[in-house]
Structure formats: C-alpha cells, structure tokens
Symmetry: C2
Subunit: 422 residues, 2 copies
C-alpha cells in the first residue's frame, strides 16, 4: 500500500491555473503519466504528465532522459515516488521551477494521446461478481456463479495488438453467429461495451518466480479506464470450450492517462467479503490487502447517439458503478494469482479488471446486463431505444475518486465511436 | 501457395559438407531462419540460416542489414523469395560465394539459439480434431465434439512472455486444483505436453481489415515446432467459463528454426473433409486451399526420463503423428478466421495449431490422450511408467517432411526438461 504524503495535501495548488479548477481531472494531487505527440504529426510519442488542461513534457522539463514509458514504469518504487515528489513540488504554486517548466508545457488540446505504454501481454480478469452473477443468470438461472468463482480470480489472455487509445473509432466486427441449420455470418448485431479498469504492471518478475501478495503492489504502476468492446452474438457461438476470441479482439479502448498507485493512496478501501464467503487461500490473503486492498473509484458509462450529436444533445449517463463495490478480488490478488504458477509479468503488461457492474441494473457495466440480454431496451432522453450499440454511437467511460478530506482526481477521457462494418 | 523451383531440386548439394548428409534436418533445400548468439555470451541475437551443422550469419555474409527478424519477416513475399534464391545459389556446391561466405559460418554447437523472433501476440488454435474428440470424450462420452467445431476454427489467446526457446527448463507450476470441501493447492500432479506446430506471421494487416483466404498465405512466414506445456489439474479447475489460463502460461517451448513456407512448398497436401462434414463458410473456403492447403509434416514426441539419462538410454519415441492428418483446419483458414472481425496480425505473431494427435492412441499429442486421462500409464523400455510428466523428464518434439522426389527437411530440436516446483 502507499502512504499518504504532502503530494496528496488537498490544499496544495499549482501555478498551472487550470489545475486548480474544482472540476478538473488533473489537479496537482493526480499527476498521471501518458504519451503524447503534436496532433496530426508523425512524431514519436513523448512522455508527459497531465496537469490541468496542460501536459508537462518530462524530457523537456529535464526530469527524464528516455521516451520509453515502459522503462520508467519498471523503475523501483522509491524512484517513482521521488519523481512524483519532484513533480508535485515543481508544479506547486510559488515553485522556483515555474519559469523553466512553463517552457515544457503543451496544451492537451494541441496533442494526440497514444496508448500510454507498450503493452506486451494483456490479461483480462473477471473480478466483477455482480457482472458474473448477472451474466451467469442469463445462462443458468438457478446456479449463476460457477463453483470456482470465489476461490480463483478467473482470468484469460486477451489480444494486445488491437488495444487502441481514447478517440479511436471501432469498426463493427463481422463473424459467425449461431444458426438453426448452419451458422449465420455478418456484422455483429449485439455489439456491447464492458466497463473495466486497466491495471498496468510496473516492475516485472522472472519466469519461474512468484510475487507474494505482500509484495504485489510494488509491481503495479497505475490504473486506467478500459473498455473491452464485445460482440455478444459472436461470443455466444465461439466461446466453448476455450473462451472468448473474435468476440473481443477487434478492439479495446484504453484511456491515455495512467493514474499512479501513489495518486490513488487516499482512495483505498477494505477488501470485505461476507463472512459466509470462503477465506481466500493463503497466497491470496494478507492483512494489508483485507484492510486497504480495494480501490474506491467512481465509474460512469455515457452514451451519445448520432441523432443526439446532430441535435446538439450532450452524452447521457447510462450507468454508475464503483470499483470497490463491484470487485470480488483486489489488484494485489490478481498479481499474486497471475504469478503463482511462475508466469512472468513484464513492465507495461495490462491486467483488465473485467466488467465492474454494481448489484443494481442502473449500475450495469455492459448493455447485456442493462437490457437483460437485449430484452428490455434502454430508453434515451430523446426517445431513442438501445439494446446494443448502433453505428454512430459514441460510448465514453469516466472515472474519478472523491472523498472528504481529499482532492478529487479523475481518469480523463476514454471514448470510441462505432463505425459500420465494411 | 508456393511454387516449387530450383531451390527445391533434390539433386542440389552444398559446399557445406554436413548439409549433404542424408539425415541432416538442414540440407540446402531447407534454409530455415533463426536467431543465435555465441553460447554463454550476452551478445544481441543475430539472424542466421541453418545449413548442415553450421549457421550462416546473414549480416556478416552481407545479405541483410538488420538484426530485426520481425522486419525481415514483414518483407514482401517477392523479397523473401529473392533472399531464398540468393541463399540457395550461394550455398550450392561450386558457388563463387564460398570463399566469402565461409567466413560467415558459425558452428551450431558453439551457439545458443533464441526465440526466433519477437512474438507480439500468441494465439493458440484447436485444429486437431482427433485431439478435440479424444479430450471431449473424457468429459462428454456421448457428444465429444461441440456443435461449433466443424464451423469455427476454435482459438484463444495465449501468453507471449513465457514462450521460451528449445533447451529451456520448465519449472513445474503450482496452483489451485479441484477439491472436495475446498480447492487443493500445490505443485501440479498432471503436467503434460502438447504437440503443436507454430505458424509465424509475416506481413501484417491493419486493424479493421480482413485477410481473404486467397491472400492468407502471403501473411505466413513459416513454421516451427511448439510445445504448449499444460497442467491438466489446474486447467480442469480454472477453465470455466473463460478458458485455460495458469494451466498454460507458465511456459511454452518454441523450436529455434523457422522453416519457411517456401521450403515447405513440396510438402503440401489437400484439405479434405469427409463429404458428410459441412462445407466451410465462404470466407474459409478457396480452391487452392482445398487442393493444397495442408502441410504434410511428420511429427514425433520423445521422452527421456532422469533414470534413462543416468543409465545412458536414448530418448524413446512415445508418439508419431502427421500434421495434415491431424488437422481439421489449414494455416490459411486460421489467418482468414483470425482477421475476419478486423483483428490485426503483426509480423512475428505466433499462431499455435493446437495439439496434433492422430486418430490412434499411439498418435496422441498429449499424455492426457495417450494415458486415457491418466488411467493407463505408458510403460517405457526400462520398465518405468508414466501417466504425466515427472521432475527430470526431458520431452522433445521432432518434425520433418519427406516425400518421393523431394529432399527430406527437418525442424531441428525442441526440448525441455521439467524442474521441480520451488
């Protein structure tokens, strides 16, 4: 776990004025890392930190000597904390760095943001117990949760090549679907989102070694929003016996700013299961994890249809959830489980949380749940109805942390628009 | 498909004398690509081509100007063929290149071979219909093949970070297994191999585009052996509902030499299903694929236990199979299927075939099948018995192609030894 220090002081303000606005995602208490280039250029991506509506270019500011985010992520925790302190102090109102660092600021509006690091391997977990229960209910009304769920942090491997940054349009996939005499083939008719967090690995571990749960957070760099777009009709036909494949790997959207574990220190929550649930096996259990293992992150899903956009209507929130409430397993448990067999994690690897739905339908992290498998459409304020996503729909995820006594921090944008099949 | 040309002429011999031995895997008709360094050094891996018991260092020979195998793999087919012709002509007996290229030869025995390219994403398919049937029978005697099997080339994502080259020892994984009151935890007791081929992607495709089956082989660079080590007891407990995870990602062994699609041109076979099987959907069907889509590769599994090694006994063949006979789908169909939803493949991506078992038990590509789920042990020549792999066992895969009128070519070594859990 990460101690709370002066970098979290809610009274601290920045000489970057927009960082002091009450509604910014990026006050001086956040300082998330990302990769950017001048919009429209073909420049290599540079490492920057978001502050208000600006980006501090870390190399120009003289703070790092690399463009390799993965190398920065792999740095020992003590170095990463030192960099955070340097950033926080230098960006503070009254800092003597202001004159020098002002030259290293670039407006976010002038930049294009990339996938925040090189993602070697991507694993998707299934920690959302309300999601697993709701989806299980659609298939097995009497026995929604499988017997392994409360013992094994269920996960599977995903596709890294098709992870795209915020703002990238998503082409509706084609594929096989179940049919009476023979399978159907064509554009997916049940295109869905999945509201997830992305946990990014910092320090790696060698093949054949395991990371103890007490050490696990040393291997976590930070957190993003993550939309694991899913084609439910393709998934239903292909997924037995080896799991989802083409239903998922046509595109996944990651938010461009990595909110560090250090920034999240004030927003930790207990990992609390009902007493009737089994005790986790020893490799998944530790006092610190029980007390503070979860992340108290507020999550929202917003939809803007093409018709809404044309009518000048703002995106509408279709779901609200909370990561701590939605999750049966903590990030530290995911790291411990992933490596218990000796599997090697590498800096920049992505662990998706799985869909983070709350227990109620208005907290659903997917349309599959929100519409009860497509049976009860959502009705939007302009009268449109949605079971699954239509071409032209823009889907956004949003995340933020707020607590009494702490400065609110946010995750920035994570949106994509559906393009028709070709 | 690839035309047969003078580079396949069985009469062609090399000035590298060991390439002319009848039992070499690497005659001048083969010319597989790999990455090597001086054994024990920390040098960067260099690109070479195996010829007899030597490696031709391609950069020293002046043939390439990169150490990036993935860049070489991404080259257009016409360039790759030109390089093959240059290699074949220059290594031919009587070539004027001999004097210059002799200086670029390194003995294989002095080298350490790496994973042959940078593997971005790894997908494992399930094309072995006899394997799918035999494994299905263990769980569902009346209905071994699922309804989607003959329509969908079933595949799932694997872990790229834990793919290791030939010769790397494999640490027995620990994990959860099914239990009566609560799960067990400890070293896997049902550690198995999977006899597979690895298909390596050459030219990639952009996200949102599909590769037509008629173009698919333009995107294939070549083929390796691949052992997808599997912990059956971990797999049985964890795999529902999202597929295998920790049961597979503790290590997979790839052979170090990529036998190119050009080298395999004389060893193509029809893709022939019984008339009672469904016609593949149009995106998986093409005349050239029906006529020549399969690869006629002989495969063997060899086992040497610690006791055999101590007694000076050679490895014993425990299974013999054939890729064309074992496979329900062709490599071209895997490429077409993988991209039909717009998923992007990148140079160096690995597509595992899945376990390539023949219909008989002595053709089993896994111990799960060979021992009927651990019920009937193999009896080895020294009297030892094996259901699953024991610590100290060395497991080797072997592959070669031979046909009347063609020179036999082989795949080189693909072995690993089981280390005890720690």
């Amino acid at each position: 776990m990460y101690a709370i220090d002066t970098t979290h002081d809610p009274e601290r303000t920045s000489w970057v004025e927009t960082a002091n606005a009450s509604d910014t995602d990026f006050p001086i208490q956040n300082l998330p890392f990302g990769r950017f280039r001048t919009a429209g250029s073909a420049d290599a991506l540079q490492i920057g930190v978001a502050i208000g509506d600006q980006i501090l270019d870390l190399r120009t500011a003289g703070l790092i000597f690399t463009d390799d985010m993965n190398a920065l992520m792999a740095a020992p925790t003590v170095e990463r904390r030192a960099l955070r302190r340097k950033l926080s102090d230098g960006l503070s109102a009254g800092s003597s760095q202001q004159a020098a660092w002002e030259k290293a600021l670039v407006p976010q509006s002038a930049c294009e943001l990339g996938v925040p690091c090189r993602i070697g391997d991507y694993t998707d977990f299934y920690v959302g117990i309300h999601h697993a229960t709701a989806v299980g209910k659609l298939f097995r009304p009497d026995n929604p949760l499988l017997p392994n769920y409360k013992w094994v942090p269920i996960g599977y491997h995903g596709r890294a090549s098709s992870i795209v940054p915020h703002g990238t349009s998503i082409r509706r996939p084609k594929g096989q679907t179940a049919g009476a005499k023979q399978p159907g083939f064509g554009p997916s008719q049940r295109l869905d989102l999945e509201l997830e967090l992305g946990f990014l690995v910092g320090k790696g571990n060698a093949l054949g070694t395991s990371v103890a749960i007490t050490e696990a957070e040393e291997h976590l760099f930070g957190v993003t929003l993550f939309n694991d777009w899913s084609a439910r009709d393709i998934q239903a036909w292909e997924y037995q016996p080896l799991g989802p494949f083409l239903a998922k790997n046509f595109g996944s959207t990651i938010s461009p700013w990595i909110v560090t574990m250090e920034a999240l220190a004030p927003f930790r929550a207990p990992f609390a299961h009902p007493a009737s649930d089994p005790q986790p096996l020893p490799y998944l259990d530790a006092a610190a994890n029980r007390e503070q293992g979860s992340l108290d992150i507020q999550l929202e899903v917003l939809l803007q249809t093409a018709a809404m956009r044309e009518a000048g209507l703002a995106p509408v929130t279709i779901s609200r959830s909370n990561a701590a409430q939605a999750s049966y397993w903590t990030p530290a448990q995911l790291i411990a489980h992933h490596t218990v067999n000796g599997c090697n994690l590498q800096p920049g690897d992505l662990l998706g949380s799985g869909t983070l739905s709350g227990p109620a339908r208005e907290q659903a992290g997917s349309l599959l749940e929100a519409t009860l498998g497509g049976k009860e459409p959502l009705v939007l304020p302009n009268g449109e109805r949605r079971t699954f996503l239509q071409d032209g729909d823009t889907l956004s995820l949003s995340g933020y942390c707020e607590r009494p006594g702490a400065r609110r921090i946010g995750f920035g944008p994570c949106a994509g628009t559906i393009l028709p099949s070709v």
